[in-house]
Amino acid sequence: MTGVPLAFYIGLSAAMFLIGMLGVMIRRNPLLLLLAVELMLNSANVALVGFSRHWDDSAGQIFALVVMVVAAAEVVIGLGLVVATFRQRIELDVDQLSTLKG
């Protein structure tokens, strides 16, 4: 009874994911939105690495690394968009960016 069972890691992951998700839904500031998305991505990584440990296979860790790369890319584009909208003197509110309305 020294190690931590997988269940705990998965539980942590689920909790973080839900928190991040809630953040995505209730925040209107795009910066905060992006931060919440980071949280969700991280929670996924925890699960991935946890299962990697469980199955004794490095694939999960590789996955986690790829997710990080994707997160980096996403942040770059997301922040680029934030800056671009800011330069147009548009308020930092995702609800204002609704030109895709059908």
Partner: protein
């Protein structure tokens, strides 16, 4: 040798047409080359036809049949059709008439069309006609018969509508074309039946195996009647005749060549060519004969009342072809062909003489404004006189022999033949009357009131020479087949008419018919002189009585009006209704229904596209939640 020349004969007018049509387009070419090509090609074709004719004369009668295939045109679904020609005595005779009369009329046109702007187009179209007509008579199978049939239709359309800026010419051309298409459909359906029943369209095979259709069978009857629809449309037989009088809007040489001498007799040629089929079904033959009788009589009555000089001749053509059709229906194939030949001579003469008059008067066509022309136009007068005597059947002239032959032989052809004889004889009397009415009113008496606006000028030799030659032929053309003498036409055609029923009148019938025929002709001329020649006042008095029937006759029994109302009007209304009402609402409704559905659903669904990122996020999550619930319910029990 014969077929090689045959191909050349066929190709020459086509090449002439192409050469004329494809002249460089800037400026009209000089007339010299146009004449050389346009007339020369027909002349050479005629000379070559004569050479072939001479070579065939040298052959044994049983060998006078030459068939040659150029290449396999199509092989489809078990039916093979070659591009092939057939030169036998029947097509030889037609070739000589077409190229011979055609050449003379081309020559005549050189002067007649002299003032025309589209000189070149005229000769190109005329050459095209000669080519098509030759194709029609030389074809070895029904497909190329129909092709030639269609091509002469085009040529006729083009030449009727030659003066394309005149509304009535355009209308007549369209009418002629459409009525001929109706005929084409008949022919085509007949060909379908042959394909279905015999699986072939070659003459030799169809005629050899015609018996398989079964004598007096419904199929044979249907084939013959459908073929006859085509023949009737082309030859202006009732009730498909009404385009022919209207076709006179074309230049007069066209009327002479196409609508008198050659094309309109194609129907007769067709029946004679397919005599094997018509012999299979006596009912079909009787129908043909009856149609011929009705036509020849009614058309003769209409011709009595026409004022336009060309329309008189047109109705007379309808009537004369009625004689031929009647003869063909009664099985008197050689007689029909004989009359076809003499008719080509004398009707061409009449038309060309009428053309000379019209040309001399600067386009005047109404008999009311003619009179005393014999003093001005000697050549036309003599030619017209010869033509009238020939068509009236005056003893010794060509029409006398050919018409008499038909009538005399009819007497030997059963009850229907006897009826035909009576009808034909009465119509012959009418023929003499209306033709001499024309002659007397145009050439005799005083000049018309007020004189001529356009002083008549005599023709130059371009017109005079062909006219004279044709006039001579109209006089002597009948002498090649003389009762109790010799039967050159019968003998010549015999190889092409093997197996046709032998009908010949007894001596009594022949003699009676000759005597009555002569009397009728002389009586008709006398009546015409009494009514129209001797006393002008009497004619004017006569014109006053019975105005109603007179108008009906002038309009050709008002068949045109009936067609307009019953057929064209109703379908036009139907077309308009479909275009105006059904098309936008019915067909458009079928189309707009799915469009409306898509649009409606899009209108509902677009509410989901709020443009707000968080709603999308929520939708996503809700979807994940729903999927999760489903999975949990499925996995956890």
């Amino acid at each position: 040798m014969a077929t090689t020349l045959g191909w050349i004969i066929l190709a020459l007018p086509l090449l002439g047409c192409l050469a004329l049509a494809l002249f460089p387009r800037h400026g009209e070419p000089p007339k010299g080359p146009v004449i050389a090509i346009g007339v020369g090609s027909i002349l050479i074709a005629f000379v070559l036809s004569a050479v072939v004719f001479a070579s065939m004369l040298a052959e044994d009668p049983s060998e006078r049949l030459h068939v040659d295939s150029l290449y396999e045109w199509i092989d489809i679904g078990g039916v093979s059709v070659d591009l092939a020609i057939r030169i036998d005595t029947l097509s030889m005779m037609m070739m000589l008439i077409i190229t011979g009369v055609g050449f003379l009329i081309h020559l005549y046109s050189v002067e007649y069309m002299d003032h025309d702007r589209d000189y070149r187009r005229f000769f190109a179209e005329m050459n095209f006609f000669v080519f098509s007509m030759l194709l029609l008579v030389m074809a070895e199978n029904f497909v190329f018969l129909i092709v030639g049939w269609g091509f002469v239709g085009i040529a006729s359309y083009l030449l009727i509508g030659y003066y394309y800026q005149q509304a009535d010419a355009v209308r007549s051309a369209k009418k002629a074309f459409v009525m001929n298409v109706i005929g084409d459909v008949g022919m085509v359906l007949a060909a379908f039946l042959l394909v279905r029943e015999l699986g072939t369209l070659d003459y030799s095979e169809v005629f050899a195996r015609a018996g398989e259709l079964g004598p007096e069978s419904g199929t044979a009857l249907a084939v013959c009647l459908l073929l006859f629809v085509g023949a009737a449309a082309k030859s202006g037989q009732m009730p498909l005749h009404s385009w022919l009088p209207d076709a006179m809007t074309g230049p007069t040489p066209v009327s002479a060549l196409i609508h008198a001498a050659t094309m309109v007799t194609a129907g007769v040629y067709l029946i004679v060519r397919c005599y094997t089929l018509f012999d299979l079904s006596s009912l079909a033959g009787d129908t043909v004969a009856v149609v011929g009788m009705v036509t020849l009589f009614l058309a003769a009555t209409v011709a009595l009342m026409q004022v336009d000089i060309k329309r008189v001749l047109a109705w007379s053509t309808v009537s004369q072809i009625g004689y031929m059709v009647m003869a063909a229906g009664l099985g008197l194939y050689a007689s029909a062909m004989f009359h076809l030949m003499t008719h080509a001579f004398f009707k061409a003469t009449l038309f060309l003489a009428a053309g000379a008059v019209i040309h001399a008067l600067g386009g005047e066509q109404s008999l009311d404004r003619m009179g005393g022309l014999r003093r001005h136009l000697r050549v036309a007068y003599f030619a017209m006189g010869a033509g009238c005597l020939a068509i009236a059947g005056f003893p010794g002239f060509s029409g006398f022999f050919s018409k008499d032959e038909i009538l005399a032989y009819s007497l030997a052809a059963g009850t229907l033949g006897t009826i035909g004889y009576v009808v034909g004889t009465v119509a012959a009397l009418l023929t003499a009357i209306y033709m001499f009415r024309l002659l007397f009113r145009a050439f005799f008496g005083p000049d018309p009131d007020g004189g001529y606006a356009h002083a008549p000028h005599p023709s130059r030799w371009w017109m005079a020479v062909p006219l004279s030659i044709l006039a001579v032929l109209a006089v002597v053309g009948g002498w090649i087949q003389v009762p109790f003498g010799w039967h050159l036409i019968d003998d010549w055609l015999a190889p092409a008419l093997v197996g046709a029923p032998e009908i010949s009148p007894s001596h009594t019938q022949e003699v009676v018919s000759l005597i009555i025929g002569s009397i009728v002709a002389v009586a008709g001329i006398a009546i015409a002189w009494y009514l129209f020649g001797a006393d002008r006042e009497r004619r004017l008095r006569l014109a006053g009585v019975a105005a109603g029937p007179r108008r009906v006759l002038e309009d050709g029994y008002e068949l045109d009006e009936i067609y307009d109302e019953a057929l064209i009007g109703t379908t036009r209304d139907l077309g308009d209704a479909l275009t105006r009402d059904f098309e936008p609402k019915g067909a458009g409704g079928i189309i707009s229904a799915p469009v409306a559905i898509v649009r409606g659903s899009a209108r509902v669904l677009r509410a989901a596209e709020s443009g707000l990122v968080r709603t999308y996020a929520f939708a996503l999550i809700a979807g994940v939640g729903a999927a999760g619930i489903v999975i949990v319910l499925a996995v956890v029990r």
